[in-house]
Amino acid sequence: MVHGNSQNRFYLLSVNRELRTVNEGFSMENLIWLVPTFPLAGFLVNIFLGRRLARLWVSWVACGAMGISFGVSLGLFFHLINLAPHLRHLEQELFTWIRIADFKAAAGFLLDPLSAVMILVVTGVGFLIHVYSIGYMGEDRDFARFFAYLNLFAFFMLLLVLANNYLLLFVGWEGVGLCSYLLIGFWFERPAAASAAQKAFVVNRVGDAGFLLGLFLIWTTFGTLQYGEVFHQAEGLHGVLTAPAGGGLSVVTWITLALFIGAIGKSAQLPLYVWLPDAMEGPTPVSALIHAATMVTAGIYMVARSSPLYTLAPFSLAVVAWVGALTAIFAATIACVQNDIKRVIAYSTISQLGYMFLGVGVGAFASGIFHLYTHAAFKALLFLGAGAVIHALHHEQDIQRMGGLRPHMRVTAYTFAVGALANAGIFPFAGFWSKDEILFAAFNGGFYVLWFLGLAGAFLTGFYMARLYFLTFEGEYRGDPHHAHDIHDAPPTMGIPLIVLAVCSVVAGFVGIPPEQGPFHQFLAPVLHHGGAAQAAAHGLAVPMAVLSLLVAGAGIGVGYLFYVSVSWRNVPEIWAARLQGLYRVVYHKYYVDEFYQDWVVGPLDRLAFFLWRGFDVAVVDGAVNGVARLMEMGSWGLRRIQTGVVFNYVLSILVGVVIFLGYLVWGR
C-alpha cells in the first residue's frame, strides 16, 4: 500500500488527539454533540407524543429545541472566535461506530470555522422558519407530524455539517434526503405532492450513487474516511494522486468528480435539477428551510469541505465551475417566464446554487460559502414572504392572478422587496457582496466566459426578481374578487421571522467587507485552501467590476419595471412573447427537460420494468414456482387413486405384498 507509512504516523496522531481530549475533561468541544441532540429530542417527543399534546406545546417543543440548539451553536461559535486561528479545530469522537477488519468508522464531530458557519445558518434560519411555521401550519391537522419532520431534518442537517468523516456526512446526507421526501410529500393526499416527493427521492438517488462511488474511491485510496487523515495524506501523496490513473484522469480527479455527482443531485444542478421545482408541492416553510436555505446547499458545503482534494484536481474544479455557471443562467431564463410564485423562487434558488458552484469551481471556496450564507437569509425570506402571500390569498400561487397587494400587506411587501433586492445583488444588500465576489473571482481567475455567463445571469436575476415583485405587489389586483376584501398581513409568528430575515438580508453581507478580505473570509481561511487572501492580484479592478455587475443587475430590474409597471410599456411583454413565440414556448415549458427525461429515461425504464414484471417475474420466476406446484399436484393426483378408503383393497395389497415377499424368500434366491 502506498500509504502505509503515513497511515502509521496518522494513527499516532489520532491517538495523541484522543489523549488530549480525555485530559481536557470538560470543555467546549464536549458540547458539540448537544447541537444535533436537541432537534433529535424534539423529533422524538413530537413524533411519539405530538398527537396527544396541545398545539401550543408541540410548537414550543419544536421551536425550543431549535432555539436551544441555536444558542449552543452561538456559544460554540464565540468559543471558536476566541481561540487562535490555527487552534480553531475541535474534534469530538463519540464512539466507534463500525469496525470491520481494517475498516473503521467513528461517530465523531468536527467543529471548525466552516462547520461553525453552517450550524449557525442551519439553526438560525431553521429556528426562524420553525417560528414562522406555527402561523403558517396553524390550521393543518398534522401539525405535530410537520414539526417532528422539521426537527428530524434539522438533526440530520446538523449531523451532515458536523461530521468529521465522509461516512457520517453521508448519513446526514441521506437523512436530509429522507426528510425532504417526507416533507415534500407532507400533503400526500394530493397526487402531485406524492409524485413530487418520489421524484425528488429518485433523482437524488442518482446523485447519491456517484457520491457512494466517491466514498469507495476515497477508502481504497486513503484507507480512511476521516477528513483530517484524508486531507493530510492528500498533501503527502500529491504525486501519486495526480498521476493519470484511469481514462487519462488522476485518482483524485475521479474522486472529486464522483463526489460532485452527489452534489449535483443534492444541490439541484444541471442535469439533475428537475426535482427542485416540483419540490414546491411541499408546504412553503419546507421550501424555505430545505429547498432554499440548508439542504440544497449541502453540495456546496461538501465541495468546500473537500477543498484540499478539489485543489488537486483542476479538471474537476473546471467541471464544477462550468456546471455552476451553466445552471445559473439556464435556471435564470426559466425563472423569467414562470407564473407560479414558488416556482420562480425555486428556479432562482437553482440559479443561485449555480453561482455558489461557480464560486467554488474557480477556487474561491470562501466566496461560495459566503454566498451560501447570505443566500440562506434572503432566499428563506423570499420563500416565507411568498408563503405569507399564498396564505393571505387562500392558496393562490399564480402571480398573474395577484397584484396590488402592497397596501394590504405592508410587512410582507417591504420584506419581500428587501429579499428581492438582495437576491438581485443590489448594493448594499447581502447578495451584492457575495455574488459580486464570485463574479470577480471568476474574472480574476481568467475564466472570462464563465464570468460573462454569470454576468448575464445577474441581468436575468434582476429582471425576474423585479417581475416577481411587481406582478405580486404592485399594479392592480387581478385575482379572485371574492378574496379581495379579506387580504391581510401575516400574523406576528409569521411577520417577525420575515422582519428578522429582512434585517439579516441587509446586514449579512457586511461581514464580507472588504471583498475577499473581510472578517468572514479570514475566519474561514484556515479551513478552505484558497481561503481569503488568495486572489489579491488585480484589486484595482474590483470596484469597476462591482459597479459593472451592479449596473447589469440594475438594468435587469429597470427592464422589469418597464415591462410590468410602466403604463406605456404595458403590452410589451405580450408583444415580445408573441414575436419570439417559439423561444418563449420552449423556455416556458422549461426547455422540455422534464418531457425529455420522461421520454428517454423514465419511459424506457418503465417499459423495461414492465417487461421484467410481465416477461420475467410473472412468466419465469412465478412460472417456475407454479410449475413445481403443478407437477406435485399432478403426481399426488395419481397417487391419490391408490387410497380408495376401502379396507378390502388395503388388505388385498398387503396380501399380495406378503405373497410376493414370501415367494422371493422361498424361490427367489
Binding site: 391408490i642 387410497q643 380408495t644 378408503g645 376401502v646 379396507v647 378390502f648 388388505v651
Partner: protein
C-alpha cells in the same frame, strides 16, 4: 401323538380364516376378531414348533404375542367405541374420511 403337520395344518386354516375375515367382512368388530384369530394361529405354530424342537424360545414368543394382542385389544376396542360414538356405525365402508 399328534404329528406336527396336523398342528401346522390347523394353524394355516385358522390363519386363512382370519385373512378372509379381514378381507371380506365390513364390521369392524369382526375384522378385529379375525386379526385376533390370525395372531392365535401364529401362536399355535410357535407352540407346536417349540414342543417338537424342544426349545422354550417359542413359548417366550407366544407370551409376547399375547401381551401385545391384549394391549392391541384395549387400544383397538377403544378406537372402535370412539368411532361408533362419532359415526353411529362400525361399518368400515362408511368410514372413509381419509379417502383421497
Amino acid at each position: 401323538m399328534v404329528p406336527l403337520w396336523a398342528y401346522l395344518l390347523l394353524s394355516g386354516f385358522l390363519f386363512i380364516v382370519g385373512v378372509v375375515g379381514v378381507a371380506t367382512r365390513r364390521n369392524a368388530l369382526i375384522i378385529f376378531m379375525s386379526i385376533e384369530l390370525m395372531l392365535n394361529a401364529v401362536n399355535l405354530t410357535f407352540v407346536a414348533f417349540s414342543r417338537f424342537l424342544h426349545s422354550l424360545d417359542g413359548h417366550v414368543f407366544v407370551f409376547f404375542v399375547m401381551t401385545v394382542a391384549a394391549a392391541e385389544v384395549v387400544v383397538g376396542l377403544a378406537i372402535i367405541i370412539a368411532l361408533f360414538r362419532n359415526m353411529e356405525t362400525v361399518n368400515v365402508d362408511e368410514i372413509h374420511l381419509l379417502k383421497g
